[in-house]
Symmetry: C3
Subunit: 470 residues, 3 copies
C-alpha cells in the first residue's frame, strides 16, 4: 500500500479515537486515498496550515491576558491585588462576549471579511452579530477568535491606568463597551475595509498587527480614564510633585513581562493569518529585536541617570519596543526594527515624565506611555521605515511621503475617535455607576472593601488561619 | 530553478544544521524535487499539519499541569504549599510513566487505534505495553503523547480534593494506579472502541475531548478520596457547619486559572487530532464562550448574594464552564456553548454547597464540583445540544433522544466504574501505606513534616537566612 | 465553485483584513486557484508546515527564559531577587542582539547554512553579520530566530551559577560575549558544518538539540564563573563544610520548572526544523520520559537518604533528565530515553556533591551539575544508545564504537574550548569591570545595593507604602 494510503488509514483510526464516529469522515479520506486528487490533499493541507497557525497565534495572544494581570498586580500595592487580578480575569470574559454579540459585527460586518458578512459601510459594519447564521462558518469562526483576543487586549490595557481606585463594576461596564463599540469602530476603519484603509495615499492607512488599532486605542482610553478618575490618594504632594508608589511584587511583574513578550510572537507574526506566508519568520525577528532594544533602553536609561538600573523600566521599555514594532513589523528590516523599538522606549520614557509632571495624571503602570505613546509612534514609524520588502509598502526613507501621510491621518482619526468615544463612555459610567471608590475604601484597599478578601490572607493574620484549624 | 527546488535545497541545508547528517534525508528531498510527485509532497504536508497540530495541542495540555499546581497551591494554606506543589510535579511524572507502561495499552490496545495494537476486547486493551515493538511507530507515538497528557490531567485533579492531609506516598501510589488502570478502562469504553462507543443509540456514547473521560473520572476519584480521608481538622464546627479555610496566595490561583484556560485550547480543539479539520476554529470559539460564561456566573453569583464578587468563584466558574463544554465542544453552536458553560458554572456552585453542607465532605479546591459535577453535565449536554453541524450528531433539542440515552448510559457506567475502581484502590492504599498523615503533622503543616522544607523560608525566620550568611 | 477556490477567496479576504492591501497577494492566490498547479499549492503548504513548526518551537524555547528566571529567583534569597530577575530579563535582550550582530555569522556563516552565507571555514563562519544583505531572506530569518533562542538559553544558564554576588554589568558583558563568540564557535564546529561534524567516525559528532552545544557550554561557563567569583559569604564553614542556603520562594521554582519542561517540547522536537518529519512525535515521547525519569530519581533519592522527598531535587532531576536526552532524543527508543534521563539525574546528584564538597565551588542553583554534567552525559549517551532508527545513527549498544568515539572527541573539544574561552572572557571582565560586588553589598543584598529596589517592598516596610498614601 502506498504511504498515502497508509497514513490516511491511520488517520481514520485517529479520528475514531477522538470520539467521532469514523463513518462520517472515512468517505472523504478514502476518496483522497483512492481518487488520488493531489490538488484536494494539497488544498486541505494549505488550509490546515493557515488555520493551525492563526489559532495557535490566537492562543498565545489570549495568554497575554495572564501577562497583563501579573504586570498590573505586581505594580499594584498588596491591598489592591485581588481587585486588579479580578479585573483582568473578568475583562476578557466580558469583553469577549461583548465582541461576540456586537463588536465583531461592527468591526467586520460589511467588509466582505468573511462568509456571510456582506452589508455595511465605510464607518461601521452591520452584520454578523452573535456569529449567527452564515457567520457561523469555520473561517469566520477563525477570524472571530483571532480578532476577539485582540479586542480583549485593548480592553485589558485600560485596567492598568485606572488601577487602585476604580469601582470594579464601573471598570467591567467599560470593558463591555470598549469591546462592543469603541475598539471595533476604529478597527473597522483600518482593518474592516473602512475609510482609512481606502485613503488614496500610499497603500491606505496600514497597521499590520495593531500598534494603533489595539495598543493606542487601549492606551488613550487608559489615559482618559485615569484623568477622569483623578490621582490616587498620596500620588502627588501638595505642591504637585509626583511621588513614587512602589508595587508590591516584582517577580509577578517580570513573569508577566515574559508572558507578554512570549504572546507577542502570536500577536505580530500571527497577524499574517497565514502560516504559508514565509514572511512570518522575518516578523518574528523584527518583533524580537524591537523588544530587546526597548528593554536595553529602559534598563540603561535609569542606570545612566541614577547609577542603578531599573527593572521596571526595562520591562516597560521592552513592552514599548514591542508596541512600537507592532504596526510596521512586516514592512521593515531587522536593523530598522531595532531603531523603532529603541525610539519607542525613548518615547515611553519621555511620556512617563510628561504624564506625571506636566499633565499631573496618575497612570499607575504607565499604560498610556507604553501602549498609547509608543503605539502612535509605531503607526507613524510604518510610514517612515517601510522599505518595500513586503507588499510594496514604502515609507519616507524609501522616498515615499504618501504612506506617512496616510499614517498621520490615521493617527489623528484614532486620537479623535478614542478620545470622544472613551470620554463619553466614561462620563456615562461616572454619572450612573460612579467611577471611583470612596476615599475610605481606597485607603483601606480595594481587596477589603470591593472584594471582601485578601491576596495573601496568612500574611495579614497568620493566627486566623491557625485558628481555623484549631 | 523552480521555487520548489529552491525551498528543498534550503530545507536540506536546514536539516544539515540540525546535526543530522544531510546524506540521510537528501534522497527523499531530491526525489520530491526532481520527481515532482505533487501527491507525495501534498501528503507529506497534510500529515505534517496533523502531527504539528496534535503535538502543539499536547504541549498546551501538558502545561495545564502548571495551572493545576498553582491553583491548588494558591488555595492551600502556606504550610502545605511545597507538599501540594510536589504532588503536582510528581504526579505527571509518575502517571506518565504508568501510562507508558500500562495505561495506553489498556486504553487503546485492541481498538485498532494505531499500528501494531490489534488484539483486545470491548472492555480493555491488551497490547502496546511500553510502546514496544510496532507500537513504536511515529503515529502511535503521536497518539500516545496526546493521550498521556490527558491521563496526567485526570490524575492531577485528584490532588486538589485530597489536599492538606494526604500522605505524599499514598497520593503518588494513587497517581500511578489511576493512570495505569482506573482512567484507561473507562477511556477504552468510550475512546478505545469499547462497548460504550458501540451502543446502538445515536452515534454511540460520545465525549469529544473528555468532560467524562478525563474530568469526571478525576473529579469523582477526588470526591471518593476526600470522603475516605475525612475533613481537614477545623473544616467543620462541632455542629457540622462548614467553615471557610482561605487559601494563602490569590495571584497563584489566578495565574493558574489563566494557564488552565490557555491549555484548554489544546485540550478541546486539539482533540480533533487533525489540523486539517477546519472545525478546530469553531471548537476554539465554543470553548472560549463557555469558559467566559462560566466566569461571569461565578463572579456575579457571589456579588448578588453578598454584595462582593468572589474571584475564587470566578475562577472555578470559568473552569466549570470549560469542563462542561469539553464533551460537546465540536457538536454545538456558539450560543449553545454559552448556555452550556453558564449552566456548568451553576451546577458547580450547587455542587459546592451540596458537598459541604449535605455530604459533609471536605474538598478543599472544589475538585469534584468543578471537574466531576460539571463534567457529568458536559457529557449529558452533548446529548441535549448537539445540532448536527459536525458528524451528524444530534441531540434532544434537534429531536433525537437516542444520543442522550447513550450519554446517560455512559454517565452511569462512568460513575459506577470510577466509584468502584477508585474506592477499591484507595482502600488498598489505606490499609497498606495509609492515606492520612498523623493529626500532629497536619496541624504543623505538611511542608514541615512530610517535606522537611518551607515554601517561603525567609518569611518564617528571616534570621536563619541571615545567619547562614554571617 | 471548487472547495479550493472557495478557500482561496476567503484567504484573500483574510489577508485584506490583516491590513495588507489585497492587491499584492491576490495574483498568486488566483493563479493557484485558476492554474490549478497542485505542486505549487503542495509546496507552499509543505514549506508553511516547516515554518510554522520551527517558529512555534522557537517561541516555546523563548519562553524558557521565564522558566530560568523563576527557578533562579526562587532559589535565591529574597534580598537578591530583583537582581537575578533583571539579569535573566536582560541577558536574552543583550544576548539576542549580540547573536544578531556577530554570533549567528560566526556560527553559520560559511556553512552553506542558509541563503547568502557562503564563505567561512572549519573553525568559524565569516558572513551574515547583522542579518544584512542576502541573509535577510525569510528562511535565514527562520533559522536565525530558532538559533537565537538557543544562544539565549546558553547565556542565561550562567546567571544561576553566579547568582547572589556578581556585578550586574559584569554579568551582562559576559552575556554579550558568550552569545557573540563563546557559544557560536563550538556551535559552528558541530552544527555549522565545522570540523567536529566532519569527523570520519560514525556520522561525525552529533548533538540533536544541544545537550552539548547549548547546555554543557552554559553549564561549564557557569562553573568557571562560579569558581572565579568564589563562594557566597557564609556558604562554607571555616572548616570548608558547605552549608545549605535555602531559596526564598518554592512556588516560583516549581512554576519555573514547569515552564522549562513545557519549553523543552520546542527545544527538542523543534530541532528537526521540520514539521513534516513525523519523527517529531517520537522526540516528544523520549523527551517526556527522560524528564519524568529524572524527576523521579531526584525526588526519591532524598526520600531514601533522609526520609523526606526534596522537591528542589525533583526539579533539578527533571531538568537533568531533559538536558541529558537533548542530544540523543531523536536517535533512541522510549525505553532508552527513560534510562538516559534517570542516569542524567544520577550524574547531576553526584556532581552536586563533587562541586560542593570536593571542588569547594559555590554554584547556587546547581547550574553546572544540571546543564554541564548532565549535558556531557547526553552527548556521550547518543554514542551509546543510538539504535539506528533515525538517520542510521548507531551507538555502542548497536555494535558501533565509531559514533561514541566522535562524541568523546566532541566532548573534549567542548570542555577545552569553553574552559579557555570562558576563562579568558571572565578574566578580562574581572580586571576591567570587576566580577564581584563588595562584601558589604553582598551582605546587604544586591537588590538594595545594585538595583536600588526591593522585590516585595511592602514586606520589608509596610508603613512606607501606607505613608505614601497618607
Amino acid at each position: 500500500m502506498s504511504k498515502v494510503g497508509s497514513f490516511l488509514r491511520s488517520k481514520r483510526k485517529l479520528i475514531l479515537l477522538a470520539g467521532v464516529p469514523g463513518a462520517l469522515l472515512v468517505p472523504q479520506m478514502v476518496s483522497a486515498q483512492e481518487g488520488a486528487d493531489a490538488m484536494e490533499v494539497a488544498t486541505s493541507a494549505f488550509t490546515g496550515v493557515n488555520f493551525v497557525w492563526t489559532l495557535i497565534a490566537g492562543f498565545l495572544v489570549f495568554f497575554m491576558q495572564a501577562g497583563f494581570a501579573l504586570v498590573e498586580a505586581g505594580f499594584a500595592r498588596r491591598r489592591n491585588t485581588v481587585n486588579i487580578l479580578a479585573k483582568n480575569f473578568m475583562d476578557f470574559a466580558i469583553g469577549g462576549i461583548a465582541y461576540w454579540a456586537f463588536g465583531f459585527a461592527i468591526m467586520f460586518g460589511g467588509s466582505a471579511a468573511a462568509s456571510g458578512l456582506e452589508n455595511g459601510n465605510d464607518f461601521f459594519g452591520t452584520s454578523g452579530f452573535f456569529l449567527a447564521g452564515e457567520a457561523g462558518a469555520d473561517d469566520t469562526a477563525l477570524l472571530w477568535f483571532f480578532q476577539m483576543v485582540f479586542a480583549a487586549t485593548a480592553a485589558t490595557i485600560v485596567s492598568g491606568g485606572m488601577a487602585e481606585r476604580t469601582r470594579i463594576n464601573a471598570y467591567l461596564a467599560y470593558s463591555f463597551l470598549i469591546s462592543a463599540i469603541v475598539y471595533p469602530v476604529y478597527g473597522h476603519w483600518v482593518w474592516g475595509g473602512g475609510w482609512l484603509s481606502q485613503l488614496d495615499l500610499g497603500s491606505g492607512a496600514l497597521d499590520f498587527a495593531g500598534s494603533g488599532v489595539v495598543h493606542a486605542v487601549g492606551g488613550i482610553s487608559a489615559l482618559i480614564g485615569a484623568a477622569m478618575l483623578g490621582p490616587r490618594i498620596g500620588k502627588f504632594a501638595k505642591d504637585g510633585t509626583p511621588r513614587t508608589i512602589p508595587g508590591h511584587n516584582m517577580p509577578l511583574v517580570v513573569l508577566g513581562a515574559f508572558i507578554l513578550f512570549f504572546g507577542w510572537f502570536g500577536f505580530n507574526p500571527g497577524s499574517t493569518l497565514s502560516g504559508t506566508d514565509t514572511h512570518i519568520a522575518m516578523i518574528a525577528v523584527t518583533t524580537f529585536l524591537a523588544g530587546a532594544a526597548g528593554a536595553i533602553v529602559g534598563f540603561y536609561y535609569s542606570f545612566v541617570r541614577t547609577g542603578k538600573p531599573d527593572v521596571g523600566l526595562a520591562v516597560n521599555g521592552a513592552l514599548a519596543g514591542l508596541v512600537a514594532i507592532t504596526a510596521p513589523c512586516a514592512f521593515v528590516s531587522p536593523g530598522a526594527a531595532l531603531i523603532i523599538g529603541a525610539i519607542g522606549a525613548g518615547i515611553m520614557l519621555a511620556s512617563l515624565s510628561i504624564v506625571e509632571r506636566v499633565l499631573k495624571i496618575d497612570d499607575p503602570v504607565g499604560a498610556f506611555s507604553v501602549h498609547g505613546a509608543a503605539g502612535i509612534w509605531g503607526v507613524l514609524a510604518l510610514g517612515i521605515f517601510a522599505d518595500g520588502s513586503y507588499g510594496d509598502v514604502t515609507g519616507l526613507i524609501a522616498g515615499d511621503a504618501g504612506q506617512l501621510a496616510a499614517q498621520v491621518i490615521s493617527v489623528v482619526a484614532l486620537i479623535g475617535w478614542t478620545a470622544v468615544a472613551s470620554g463619553l463612555t466614561f462620563l456615562v459610567i461616572k454619572y450612573s455607576i460612579g467611577l471611583r471608590v470612596p476615599k475610605a475604601d481606597e485607603l483601606a484597599g480595594l481587596d477589603a472593601t470591593e472584594m471582601g478578601t485578601d491576596a495573601y490572607p496568612e500574611d495579614e493574620s497568620p493566627e486566623s488561619a491557625l485558628a481555623a484549624s484549631a
